[in-house]
Symmetry: C2
Subunit: 524 residues, 2 copies
């Protein structure tokens, strides 16, 4: 088990170039017709003569109409600059890439045009380069979001923008610079060029979405935390400094609210939550956890400040998923067993580990329902100047450089986090007039969501106690959704459609919030 990005793969056998063809999205078992926003046409118009003096662009437009029955009503200005030379160098046999009635690229080669799908996370960027004529992912890579230099989380970056006159521009250039380097690297590895990329889909939370476009974020940092833009958006890659094909388009999936962004829309799209007949909860766990509920043809969503505990922050010995992180803990009689990533000497606890840990401590009677840790309940429990803690690993055990502990405060952090999530689920259910048992499908996305133990999550009351088979863990679904929106016209339109009708529920002002939150704090 390694916690890497790109764990969901789009893969099809290369076959004929006739679209639509079926594309399998493995991680989520999605199959879509290959029908991207762009189309590629080979044309060979009659060369000009004194008897046929149509302008170059007109000649190509007419050829598209006559040879392919395709109407182009616009030529991108960058294409117009190249067109006259390219057609003459290639004896009037060229390939034209069109997008939504616009000719956006002209090429002399039979190289398939590429597409780019990017999930811009606050922490990590995951990019996929896809062959738009076969649907095959030709390469993918992940890097840290270079904006981290300006602040760890969304609020820190908003603050940076507020405090620095050129802050917004700096952050925009940082992310776009990172994207340019990433695309170059993926394309070079695949033996292609970034200028072969004719279409991109970007997703991210609302703040990342705004920062990559250079949109203002100040209003997102203050109640009522508004997006400047929630609609789906199309612009030219060059307008944000993204160095792809000169006429390449960029599509951004819609946002729902200041804290329910295009990445959540992408997850819903990838997991097909908007289409299912089943009552479905979709949960994308992060510092903010976005939750969607689909029931009886309606959609609700909310965002809840679950905090970074499951990313290892605010936990005494917490750490990100990396070698040496305890990722799995079980009761072993009255004692505990654990496992580290890479079987390395234990150095800390990652998200799935701390979740297991709290569940096990409750199971073996170390922790009470209210989260209090009984100081004499177990030989591994000790009292320190800072309070009571459970010694999970003693210094030297399996090469551990020091003790690894779970403190009472850690347990409380997990209570706050899991209560936030559970409250979100409960309030959406209330909005729909449903109860826990009505949930037929419970889909969990994200890196932590992939590796968490559902049994532990149920044990501490983070998830409702549903039969195990109703839970689905889907990995980086936002990246998959971005690829779907890249490969399928219909998926993109579908996202626009359901985003419009998805009902955003504001939790902080919800009349049931406090009661639900308080009761969800308890450990069952």
């Amino acid at each position: 088990l390694t916690h890497v990005l790109g764990d969901v793969q789009v893969d099809v056998p290369p076959s004929s170039m006739t679209a639509p063809q079926r594309v399998q999205v493995e991680g989520l078992e999605r199959v879509v017709d290959l029908d991207p926003y762009i189309n590629v046409y080979q044309v060979a118009p009659e060369p000009p003569s004194l008897e046929d003096m149509r302008a170059d662009a007109t000649r190509l437009r007419d050829a598209l109409r006559d040879e392919h029955n395709v109407t182009v009503d616009r030529f991108d200005s960058s294409l117009l600059k190249r067109l006259s030379n390219v057609v003459r160098e290639n004896d009037w046999k060229v390939r034209i890439v069109t997008r939504d009635g616009e000719a956006v690229a002209i090429t002399d080669t039979a190289l398939h045009p590429l597409g780019l799908a990017v999930d811009i996370g606050t922490t990590k960027i995951a990019a996929y380069v896809v062959d738009l004529e076969t649907g095959v992912t030709v390469g993918s890579a992940g890097v840290m979001n270079p904006q981290i230099a300006y602040g760890e989380d969304v609020m820190a970056r908003i603050t940076y923008v507020l405090k620095n006159d050129d802050g917004l521009e700096e952050l925009q250039q940082a992310i776009v610079g990172g994207l340019n380097a990433l695309v170059d690297q993926i394309c070079r590895t695949a033996g292609r060029k970034a200028t072969d990329v004719v279409e991109a889909v970007l997703v991210g939370n609302t703040c990342m979405h705004h920062l990559v476009l250079g949109l203002p974020v100040a209003q997102m940092g203050l109640s009522p935390y508004l997006a400047a833009l929630s609609d789906p958006y199309d612009l030219k890659a060059r307008d944000i400094g993204l160095r792809l094909s000169p006429g390449a388009g960029v599509h951004l999936l819609p946002n729902i609210a200041g804290f329910v962004g295009a990445d959540h829309v992408s997850f819903v799209l990838a997991a097909d939550i908007h289409n299912t007949d089943k009552v479905t909860v979709g949960l994308d766990i992060g510092t903010n956890t976005e939750i969607s509920l689909a029931a009886h043809g309606q959609l609700w969503c909310c965002s809840t400040a679950s905090g970074p505990a499951f990313e290892g922050a605010h936990i005494k010995d917490g750490m990100r998923a990396a070698p040496g992180a305890i990722e799995w803990i079980r009761a072993n009689g009255n004692d505990v067993a654990y496992q580290t990533i890479g079987d390395a000497p234990p150095v800390g606890i990652c998200g799935s580990g701390i979740l297991d840990g709290v569940a096990v401590l409750r199971q073996i009677g170390v922790v009470r329902a209210n989260g209090a840790m009984k100081s004499d309940s177990h030989p591994r429990v000790r009292r320190t100047d800072h309070g009571v803690e459970f010694v999970l690993v003693r210094e030297g055990e399996r090469g551990a450089p020091q003790d690894v502990v779970i403190t009472r405060r850690d347990v409380n952090e997990i209570q706050l986090a899991k209560s936030a999530m559970r409250t979100g689920v409960e309030i959406l259910l209330q909005e729909a007039g449903l109860k826990d048992d009505d949930i037929e499908q419970f889909i969990i996305a994200g890196a932590f969501g992939t590796y968490l133990d559902v049994g532990s999550a149920i044990a501490i009351g983070m998830f409702p106690a549903l039969p195990r088979e109703r839970f689905v863990q889907v990995g980086n679904a936002a990246g998959t959704g971005a690829r779907l929106a890249l490969l399928s016209h219909r998926c993109r339109e579908s996202a626009a459609e359901f985003a419009r009708r998805m009902k955003y529920v504001e939790l902080t002002t919800h009349p049931q919030f406090l009661e639900a939150y308080t009761s969800a704090l308890m450990l069952p």
Copy 2:
């Protein structure tokens, strides 16, 4: 009489801001409904609250719909960058400028948005800044085209592009730099700013059209002399480096062919040639003379290489229209009378003068029908080393610094020029199955066209011998057409429509060309 640009004026009394209102275009007696491509709406949406968390763009879009029944399906990216701050600084009371379903500007003031109409001539640029809510021209100015540093005429500039790797970019930047300076100057004089300009219409010959867009021109310098682009074209001002409002759009009227450009389309539009029921010839005289014929609902056009003789080039004592230029010559008994621009001492002959001169020399028997000058026909005729010439002004006469003469070679230059024009008219008539007498209206555009003496033009066979009242001289009609396309949606669409159906006739390969040209060389 001064030969200046901007001699045709658009002028309306400032009145209510309710569009459409009537706009009078004086020079051509055109009246159009004010119905520009852009619209301006004042909106005052409910400010956001925790109960109403629509994104800022959505809030404005909904307000446009609810308050004005207007659908906006896109926000320009530059507008999105400003929107959130502008609405908050103005308590959610703002003005939105829309263009073709896109919100392109947001403003906190009641200042009327401006439009820009430019006729980019090979030699001169004429720019008009217009109030788009009243139709009033708030300022205009003309400057030399800065591209002149790279070549006097179209062919010289194409050659410059061919011989210099960055030639196209240099020429593009030269013209755009000139436009930016010109707009700044006009706006400053009018107490406004270039960033108040939200919409521009550019016209020019096909080469100027391509150079301002940065489109390739090499193919225009070789037979069959093709345009890269002939369709009407819209792009953002920022895409060509034009510094107007950040979201401003630029419209370029269509070209017809490599040597019948958007400026001729603009003239046809201004003179309403496409709409008239009368058999109409429209003639725009320059180094190339473009000619249109409208008859029985059809349109034909051609371009003819009339050369620069009427601009004073290739004429021994030729000069541009400027103080001291002889602009008017008449027979006075067996002698001649003349008049100079500004009554200044005579220093040369401008276009209208040389035209009169040839007509008078023919009238008083100095020149034969074939253009030969009889050496003993008149006391003012003398023989020099270079041939026979007619001394129009003797050194010292009215302060003349030297003799001003008309040579036999000058007469021949005028024969070539007038024959080219006349041949164009005759061949278009043949295409339409018409004869000279069928012409009900003969419209002459351009600076020289405004000041030439129609009687002289008929006398030397440049124009058919129609009754005088059928001739109309309209001045800088291209600039007027650009203003019409700026002020009226319908005019712009009309131009696109008639340009599509206008039939371009290539003269050089026309079977009747040689015969018509040879016979037109004669002086009646």
